[in-house]
Amino acid sequence: MSEIEITDVAMRFRSRHGEVTALERISLTVPDGQFACIVGPSGCGKSTLLMVAAGLITPTEGEVLVNGKPNFEPGADRGMVFQSYSLYPWLSVRRNIEFGPEIKKVPAADRRKTSDELIHLMKLDGFADAYPKVLSGGMKQRAAIARALAGDPEVLLMDEPFGALDAQTRQIMQELLTDIWQRYRKTVLFVTHDIEEAIFLGDVIYVMTSRPGRIRTTLAVDIPRPRTFDTLTGPRFAELRNQVVGVIHEESLKAVESELARA
C-alpha cells in the first residue's frame, strides 16, 4: 500500500509585489499503484504542488499524507525526477543510480544487483561506467528515472521529466515509462504540459486552472492497458484530447488576460 494524499493545500509566496497565491486549496489522492497526471497552463503552480508533495517546501495551509500519515519532511518515500535531469556529474551512471541505496547503507552486492537490473531496463547497457557528460538528453533522463526507482520510493513524483526532449525521444521515453510502470506498479504523480503525454500515460488527469492554481477538472482515462503507439491514433484518445484541449485553452486564455490586466 502506498498512497499519497494532498489535503486542502494552499501555497502563498511573499514577493516584492505583495503576496502571490500559487496554489489555492488543492486536494487530491493518488491511490496505490495509480498513475496520475497533472496538466495546466504555464505558471499555474504544478511544480509548486510537486515540491509540496515531496516535502521540499512546506505549504502555507493543508498537509500531505503518505499512507495516511502527515509528512512535512522530504524523504526516500517520495522520489523525485526533475526536468533538468540533475544527475551528479562526478559520479558514473552506476554510482548515480546507486546513490539512494548507498545512503540507506544497502550492501554493495545488493546495490549492484539493483543497478544492473535498472541499467538494463532503462537501456543504458554499456554506459554503466560512463560519466553523465557523455549521455544524450534521453539517456540522462533514463538514468535519472533509474536513480529514482533505485531508491524504491512509495510514490514517484515527476516534474515535466520529458519536457526538454525532442518529440521522437519523448515518445520513446513515454513508452518505456509505461513499460516500467506496468512492471513496478509505483504510485506516480506526473506533471506535464503535454496533453497527449498525460492521456497516454495516465489513469487519471487533473486539469489545473491558471493562477491561483486549483483543480478544475478530473478526467479518468479509460483507455485499456497496455498502451502502445497505436493508442495514439485510437478514437477514444482523440476524444479525450479534445476534451482536455478545450479546458486548457480556456484556462490559458484566462492566464494571458489576467497578465495583461496586471500589466
Binding site: A54, G75, M80, P89, I103, D129, K133, V134, G151
Partner: protein, 287 residues
Amino acid sequence: MSRVPAARVAPAPSAVTPLRRRGFIRTYLTPKQAIPGRARLILAIGSFVFVIGVWWVLAVLVQNPLFVPSPYQVVLTWWDMMVNLGFYNDVGWSTFRIVAGFLLAAAAAVPLGLLMGSFEAVRSFFNPPINAIRYMPASAFIPLLILLQGLGEDEKITIIWIGVFFQLVLMVMDIAHRVPDEMLNVAYTLGASRWTVFYKVFLPATFPEVVDALRITMGWAWTYLIVAELVAAEHGIGSFILIAERYLRADRIIAAIITIGILGLITDTLFAIAHRLAFPYVEKVRA
C-alpha cells in the same frame, strides 16, 4: 574509472576541428570556430617568436645595452645571476612566501566561502565587511603591517593573505551559491539527511570550480608578493629587482621579471593538469 568507447561522442561544437578543408576565410574568420591543431601550435610558437623578435629589433635600434638589453644578453645575465649572485635563493624565498601566504588564505577562504554560499545566515553576517575590505587594495596595507609586524616573513605572508583571502572567499561563495537546488533536492528525496546532502552533493558539486578559483587567485598572489618585497625585504625576487635598479641593471630586472612569469606559468600549468586529473567528468575545460 574505465571509459566506454562511446565516451568519444562529439564534445561541444566549437571544440571540433573540421577535417575537411574549407578555405582560409571560412576556417579562420568564422567566430568561435575551431582551427586545425597544427595552426594552433604554429600561432602559439609564432607569438613568442614575434615578441622576442620585436624586442631584438628594438635592442638593435636603440643600441644602448644599459636600458634595452637584447634577449641574448638577458639570458646570459640570468645565468650569471643564478651562478654568481645566488638568485635561486631569492626565488626560493619568494616561492616560500607565496606558497605559505596562499595556503593560509585558501585554508580560510574556501571553508568560509562554502559556508557563506550555503547558509544565508553566515552570508548575511560576513558578506558586508568582506565586500568592503575587498575594495581596499592589499598593497595599501603594507605600511601598516610594517608598523605592526616589522619586516619579517609574517608581514609578507600577511599581505598575500589579505590580497588573496578577500577575493577568494567571495568567488567561492558565488560558486557555492550557484549549485543548482535540484541537485540537493534530488538527494533529499533519496533519503539523504542535511549533513549527507552537504558532504555528498554540495561539496563535490563545488570542487572543480573552487580549483579554478584557486588557480586564478594564485596569479594575483604574485603581484602582492612582489609589491611587498619591493617596499622592503632582505631577500626575494622583488628585493633583487630593487637592488638591480640601484645599480642601473635593466638586464637583471628583465631577467627577474621573466623568471616570475615562468614561475607563474608553471603553477598555472600544474593547476590545469591537476584539474584535468581530478575532475575528468567536467564537461567544458577552461583554457
